[in-house]
Structure formats: C-alpha cells, structure tokens
Amino acid sequence: MAAVTRSPGEGIVPIRRRNPNFWRDTARGYLFILPVVLGLLIWTLGPMIASAYYSLTDYKIVNVPTFIGLQNYIELFTEDRRFAGSLSVTLRYAGMFIVIGQTFSLGLAVLLTQNVRGLPIFRTLFYLPIVVPYVASALLWRYLFNKEFGPINAVFDAVGIQGPNWLGSPDWALFSMVIISVWGGAVSTIIYVAGLQNIPEELHEAAKIDGGSALQRFWFVTIPMLTPTIFFNIVTSVIGAFQFFVPAFIMTQGGPARATYFYNLNLYEKAFEWLEMGYASAMAWVMFAIIIVLTLFIFRSSSLWVYYENEAKS
C-alpha cells in the first residue's frame, strides 16, 4: 500500500519520504489510542508526579503542602512502630498465603484436570467464591469464625476439639485471613488449570513409557512445565498482600493487638482518617519500592527454578 521509496542510504531517508502517509497514519493511530493515552497522563502519570512531590511534604489537605525533604521517609523507617508492624503483618501474610494458598491451588488444579465425570460442576463449585463481594464474605466469615456461636467451632466442639478464638486471638487472626483468601482465591486455581492444560500430553506419555510413576511424572514433568505459572502466581500474591484491605477493615479493624494491621489498612488510616496526605504518599511509594524489590528478587531467583520451554536446557 505504502509507496516504496528506495535510496542508497536507506536508514537515513528523511521521514517524510519513507511513507507519504506518515503523518496521517500517526494521527490516526493516536486518535484510536487517545483514550488510554489521556487516561495514563491524567489518572496515572500526573498523579504519580504529584504523589512523589507530596511524599516530600507535610500536607494535611487543609494546609498548603510544605516541603520537608525526606523527613516522612526517615520517620517511617526510624520512628513509626505502626509502619514496621504493618509491614511485618503484610509480609507474614504473604508468606503464609504463598505457601498454603499456592500448594492448595495447585493440588486443586491437578484434581480439576483429572478425567472424571461431572468435572464442570466441581469447577463451578470451587470457583464460585470468586464472585462473592469482599464485604459479604467478610461478614459471612466473621459469623463462621465466631468463637461462641460460630458453626466452625461448633463442628470442632462436636468432635471434641476446643476451637481457637479465630479472629479474636492475635495468634490465629492472621491465619484466619489466609483461610478467607484461599476460599475466595480460586483465580490462581483457574490459572493453574490453564497451565496444566497447556502441558503437551506427549511429555506425560513419554515419561509413562519410560516407566515413570504418577508421582514421578508430577514431580519431573508437571512441576517443571508449570514453573512459569507458579512464578506468575507468586508475584501476584505478593502484590495482593499489599492490597489486602476489606476483610481486615471490616472484621478486625487491624486487631487484635494489631495482628491484622495490614499495610494498606495503615495507609488508609493515615490518609483518610488522619488526613496525613504527605505521609501516606510516602507510604505508597515505599510500598511500590518493596513490591518492585520483591518482584525483582523472585524474578532473579526464577532463573534457578523457572523452566521456559524454548530455552535450551539439557
């Protein structure tokens, strides 16, 4: 379609002569992506710059931001006990959720890819909690976990076990949050199921002919082929841990004894209850930095354990 213009020094032809429709094509292209270009500038890039500036100021909405340099950051890391506490809660939650949640999701995904009848029904039942609104699931689980009248402890009671004081005990509250997240977190199961289905059947066949048992095939074929998916889900879990908010906000308000005082809850309180906009902005940037560092760390380590099909590995 475009007129072909050839000249001796091709790489350095003036732009205009390369394609007579250059400006028209460019304008048309940008017209199509205009919404997202404007969106990124107005709702992302602009606010990012503003937020970076606010993080260096003392800003309580009612006053004009006053520049205070790195003081917010210094305060975060040296004086703010709540910040350290919320970071530790969030990281411990992330660790538990990755180990328990991913093991469970992967095991479930293996079950959900077996060749048995009624599979679509089982999938629906396991996936269903995804659509339950956080508010509703928080209220539901607050009732289920209730120490005295809750159904869970009633079941424990019936078999003669003294159930814990789930949300009311500092030792169990965070673990209770992990249970709720695993219940509503079938998205990672869905992704594992898709990953399992993408593993070529020939690999299993070959391993079988070589006499590999089901367990060996799982360990030496399935897991290596699935490592990119595992990698993706772990990164998503880390990001999710820093976004964790609604269950802690509704069920425990961060308690008891700040055992569920998540990073995001801390940030929300600073920004919208104390109106410490500068300080909260600094917290947001620290969160972003931590996510990047953790992601890079997982990414770096991934070369040791993530297997990509197209890479030559003997």
Partner: protein, 299 residues
C-alpha cells in the same frame, strides 16, 4: 478452556496388564472423586450457611449449638432487612446499578477502540504506549490514590459518582485493553483488507467488523467489569460520604456497623448481594474464566 484434559493411558500400556491397570485406574478415580466431593462441599458450605442463616430467627442464631437448616423458615427476614430503619437498600441498589450503567459503555467503547489501535494500526510510539499500558498494571493504586482524591476534591466531585465513572471512559482499564487486543490479533487480516478495498476506513472496520465478531471477549470484559463494580468497596468508601450516595457494598457495611448483632438481617442482605453475581457466574462461567486465564497468562 472448554477442553478437558484427556489423560487416558495409552492403548499400548493398557493391553499389557489390562486387569491390574484397570483396577489401579478405578482406585485412582475413587480417590479423586472423594477429594473433589469433600473439597467442593467444604467450599460451598459457607455460602449455604449464609443463605440458611438468613432465614433463621434471631434467637436461633444466638443459641448453641447452631443448627444447619433453620428450624423455622423466616422469609420475612428479607423484607425486614431490606426496609430497616435508617437504611435505604432500594436506593443503594439503584446507585450501584446507576454507576454500572454509566461505566460499562465507557469501558467497552474505549478499551476496544484502544485495542484496535494497538492490534491493527502501525504508528510510531505504538509499542512504547502499549508497554506503558501493561506496566501501569504493576503500579499499586495507592500511589495515585491521594493525588486523585485531591484532584476530585478540587473538581468538586467528592461525594458524587463521577470519580467512580469518569476514569473508566479513558481506556477502560489496562487488562481489558489487553484482553481485547489479544482477541483482535487473532482476527484474519483478510477481513479488514477486503473492507479497505471497499473503501471503508478503520473506524468503520472497528465498528462494523471487529466489534460484532468480538462478542465473546466483549462479554468477558462486560462481566469482569460488572463483578468489579458490584463488589467494589474501597472506591466508594473513599469517594462517597453521604448515605444517600452509598452503593450496596457501602450500605451493607454501614448496616453491619450499626446493627452488628443482627446476623439474620446481615446474612439476608449479603445473600441478596451475592445471588445476582452467583447467577452471573453460573450462566457465564466460560467467559469469566476465560478472562482470568487470558489476563493471567500474559506474565
């Protein structure tokens, strides 16, 4: 997604020791069924408890040990909760639907428009912008939250639906653009080339050819957006302050804060809020799951 993995043992192996193999296969199947049955019951039980509790009497809920099904079914819990004093669930439902109705067209139109630009048009800077769009997914929303709050405050948009609606008209979310772009890339080019020969412009091609044949992915995006808006809590919590503007999620939270002991009513409203989404999922599971898979596999 629809295809189920067929993990049948090869005929070759089966012939060798047919009886032993069959038997082992049967034991395996029984174990798989057992685990699936137990697991799915445990997963679905909380939702059954939610609905069952919503029909119980206040006294029955607060007695020990708890019953599984109500001894006495009280459907009037629903009307009592729905019309409870100092609440306005009909209005809050209307608000939620209003936000949805004004957001959805913005998401569908602008994300597909942008996706077309990224999938089909060639222009300088296209890839850079596409990478920027994808990278924006990694940015925690908290980083932009405070300046946006201040911006909406200055614009006088706080306590209106505008902060929840207007941004959706600017590309409709990076993941949606990505989902639709992936779909557009698979559409054979012959289609647009034929249309170009017929004198159609790209806008016409997008509107008349791409949108109609992309119904599956558009349905996926519409469903994911619906779920997101119906379930959103943090957005309304930050931007909406007066009870007349509450969404269902916010209203339910206020209700539980005021009447924390009325588990019967809380479960009734929760059920009312959950059931439409469950219906949506049961009827359109294929589309929703496909959406999660495509956006998940980009990594």
């Amino acid at each position: 997604m629809t295809s189920v993995v067929t993990a049948q043992p090869s005929g070759l192996l089966q012939d060798r020791d047919d009886r032993a193999g069959k038997q082992r296969q049967w034991t395996g199947k029984i174990i798989v069924y057992g685990l699936l049955l137990i697991g799915s019951s445990v997963f679905i039980l909380p939702l059954i408890v939610m609905v069952s509790t919503s029909f119980k009497s206040f006294n029955e809920i607060n007695s020990y040990p708890p019953t599984f099904l109500p001894t006495q079914w009280l459907p009037e819990n629903y009307s009592a909760a729905w019309n409870y004093q100092n609440t306005d669930f009909p209005l809050w439902t209307r608000n939620t639907i209003l936000i949805l109705v004004f957001t959805l067209p913005g998401v569908l139109l602008t994300s597909s428009l942008c996706a077309y630009g990224f999938a089909r048009l060639k222009f300088p800077g296209r890839n850079t912008w596409f990478v920027a769009v994808l990278a924006s997914v990694m940015l925690p929303p908290q980083v932009t939250l405070i300046p946006l709050y201040i911006l909406f405050f200055r614009l006088g948009w706080l306590d209106t639906f505008l902060p929840l609606i207007v941004p959706a008209w600017f590309g409709g979310g990076a993941l949606n653009i990505f989902l639709i772009r992936q779909f557009f890339m698979q559409i054979p080019r012959d289609l647009d080339e034929a249309a170009i020969i017929d004198g159609a412009g790209h806008f016409t091609i997008w509107l008349r050819i791409y949108l109609p044949i992309s119904r599956p992915v558009m349905v996926t995006v519409a469903l994911l957006t619906t779920l997101q808006i119906w379930n959103d809590f943090l957005g309304p919590l930050i931007y909406l302050t007066s009870p007349k503007n509450y969404t269902l999620a916010l209203g339910l939270n206020m209700f539980q804060g005021l009447f924390i002991t009325r588990t019967d009513y809380i479960m009734a409203i929760s059920s009312l809020m959950v059931i439409p989404m469950i219906m949506l999922f049961i009827f359109a599971q294929r589309y929703i799951v496909q959406g999660f898979v495509t956006s998940g596999l980009k990594g």
